[in-house]
Amino acid sequence: MHWIIERPDGDVRGALVGVLRAVLAGGMVEALLVPLRHPAGDALAPALVKDPALLDLADPLAPVLPLNGARLVSMLTQRPPRPRIAAVLRNCEIRALVELVKLQQASLEGLVLIGVECTGTYEVQDYARIARGEPRAAFALRPACQMCEYPAPAVSEAIPGLEMVIQQIGLYGSAALHVETSAAWASRLGLAAIDDAGPHDEALRQLLVERSAARDRMLAEVRARTASPAGLAAFFSTCIRCHNCMTNCPICYCKTCFFKTDVFDHDPLQFVAWATRKGASRLPADTLLFHLTRMNHMSTSCVGCGLCTSACPAGISVGSAFRAVALRTQALFDYVPGRSLDEAPPVKTFEVNELGELGEG
């Protein structure tokens, strides 16, 4: 159901701060995870807020995503005793969180999720310049956001704990905060019911059409660039195997990832042997092995948040390559990461009869 808080002065963020304060001060949770405006002035920093007064700094609508909050919720809920917290998250964060819960790296127990619709985020450096007064039009949204077909979380039984969604799509300039939630939560927070969702639903439909078209266009470009082994090598030509993409990935949770072990501390003469065979050997070694292995390990759960691309110091469109592969691997099992808590991740389960003749001679 749709609800609103009228805000004649147009301060929608102020209305949202009021809602968050009601959640925190109402005693339903003991702390609230939300991005706060950093005193630095040009950055948002996720914070676990205990003091309702500090919620004046809350700005979950700001178009920037320094990291995927699913990793933070994992940190806060991975083992008991678990705090009762609320978390304000975008859909890519909620979807990644659902995957982490299914992979037993986080828990929804006692967790209240407040979803925020997202019209796209900017790179952290670009957002800083926007915050200092440069026009938004001078910057492009992060590529992952340009092709995101899941901008809007939806309150449903598939994701327990997702109690409300703050709507933004199609509502720019509206003098009210629009919220999708249950009647129980609405009365608790003093929201007024509306029958007409306004331009929101149509704008969302339109946005999905645009985003899907952008996705097809951008991924076709990736496919063209990686159509051959040489093209694949060129795509990742500047990789320095720093592992930033993996570190920033909400799905890659393994603490003992074998790419960080001494398996790859090859004997020095081994490098000479490789160089002898191929004439030369690209260093650091195993860069493509790293990316391809990671694609195999995690792409079925990839939510396409694109923070791998944002973390890459070498300017590689890691996330686009991963999405191109993820679309294929997810389609194999008709799996949409983050869709429902009840669907097991493909790598965690199997069917006795599946995958056609694979394995048969």
């Binding site: 496919r223 990686t226 159509a227 051959s228 082994p229 040489a230 093209g231 694949l232 090598a233 060129a234 030509s237 074998f258 490789w274 160089a275 065979r277 191929k278 004439g279 030369a280 050997s281 690209r282 195993d286 493509l288 092995l289 391809l292 292995t293 694609m295 195999n296 390990h297 792409s299 079925t300 390559a321 191109a324 592969v325 294929r328 691997t329 194999l332 493909p346 790598v347 199997f350 069917e351 006795v352 599946e354 995958l355 694979l358 394995g359 048969e360 001679g361």
Partner: protein, 142 residues
């Protein structure tokens, strides 16, 4: 190495209980098959991480064979079903990233199927001869 004398190199990961024993049977039965395969024994096809397959492929092996027990026959109940999913995902990722998924082959071969093992190696070797050398072998950028 010129085209005319191209001999494919196959790395095979075989499960201890079925396919490796099947390969052993092929040998003790004096069955002939091409000497193009280098066998690595694992306890289960479910123990094959995709990196084991990717590493030789990216280094220039012409083919990688994964051999396991027939569905329902896994010594560990379900290792081969997990292997099947992993290889299905691997094939999709290879297709998506410009690598030839035909260089990877998963086959169920039981301990009593020595003849099937020999035939599998013959056919894979022939197919790889048709495909030609793995282009990655001479690509220093990979």
């Amino acid at each position: 190495m010129s085209e005319s004398v191209f001999e494919p190199r196959i790395v095979a990961f075989l499960c201890n209980w079925c396919t490796y024993t099947g390969a052993d049977l092929a040998g003790t039965s004096r069955l002939q098959y091409p000497p193009n395969v280098r066998i690595i024994r694992l306890m289960c096809s479910g123990a094959v991480d995709v990196s084991y397959v990717l590493k030789p492929l990216l280094e220039g092996a012409d083919g990688v064979l994964i051999g396991g027990c027939h569905p329902g026959d896994c010594h560990y109940q379900e290792g081969n079903y997990k292997a099947r999913r992993r290889i299905a995902i691997l094939e999709e990722s290879l297709k998506g990233m410009g690598l030839d998924e035909r260089r990877v082959r998963l086959r169920w071969i039981s301990a009593s199927e020595g003849a099937l093992f020999a035939e599998t190696i013959r056919r894979f070797t022939d197919d790889l001869r048709q495909l030609g050398p793995n282009p990655v072998r001479t690509l220093w950028t990979m």
